[in-house]
Symmetry: C2
Subunit: 118 residues, 2 copies
DNA sequence: GGGACATATGAACAGATCCTCATACGACAG
DNA sequence: CTGTCGTATGAGGATCTGTTCATATGTCCC
């Protein structure tokens, strides 16, 4: 595979974050890449909610919500608090919170979405 | 499906961005959720590169890079400039640039990744 | 204790994803 | 014009995702 601008390539490779960091970052974005998970997180921006209310707010089944929350919890993005038979989930990752804020602060200008002709 | 805190649910539903906005935002995050695509975008943070150099930098095959760039271009996150037989791609979405900056600015503190025991 | 309730979990399946391989296409050199 | 180079594209396939359905677990009320 030919390289056109070897100096530039060296330069970019130096600035490139290490493998782990790239993969971890991609993992975080992956958690935010599902509309339902995104709604769950947005719902929790203002404080904790129980699973059934999260399901109600997002329109998910309670089972689907539970699965999604399990995933988020496994990645330490949310934490669960138990109160009797209820479980209350809250957003526990300031980094993710900032990404959410930034993402929704700019949605109106940036219709950088929707595939189209080549 | 029972609702515990009806007032809170109403509140959250009001603050919830509309369907389109949520889906579009999830789409943007989805583009950032693949390590190779992420590397491509990081590489383009400092300016345009041709496909072969992007492939070299990311360790992708040129075909895979081309496919990925096609996807990014379809979502208007990057733009292509043709120069002879070469195609130079550049990051064209300020919103995505900000997300990338924010994401990689905080990776050291936030190891909020890696699944683990419940 | 018995039963309803809130949540968690596992299996299984449909759809999406991202790669490779083969091939097509346009540009340049000879 | 022919051959090669850089890129683009399509098909195909292995893997991953997110859901539903069924069931398990623990809590509260009677």
């Amino acid at each position: 595979m030919p390289v056109v601008d070897a100096a530039r390539v060296r330069d970019v490779l130096e600035r490139m974050p290490p493998e782990d960091e790239v993969v971890d970052t991609a993992d975080v974005f992956d958690l935010l890449s599902d509309p339902n998970r995104l709604r769950l997180l947005v719902a929790m921006l203002d404080g904790e909610l129980c699973v059934c209310d999260l399901a109600a707010v997002t329109g998910m089944s309670e089972s689907a919500a539970s699965h999604a929350l399990r995933l988020l919890r496994a990645h330490r993005v949310v934490t669960a608090r138990r109160a009797g038979r209820r479980a209350f989930y809250r957003l526990a990752d300031g980094h993710v919170r900032m990404l959410l804020d930034l993402a929704f602060a700019h949605t109106q200008h940036t219709d950088a979405v929707h595939p189209e002709r080549t």
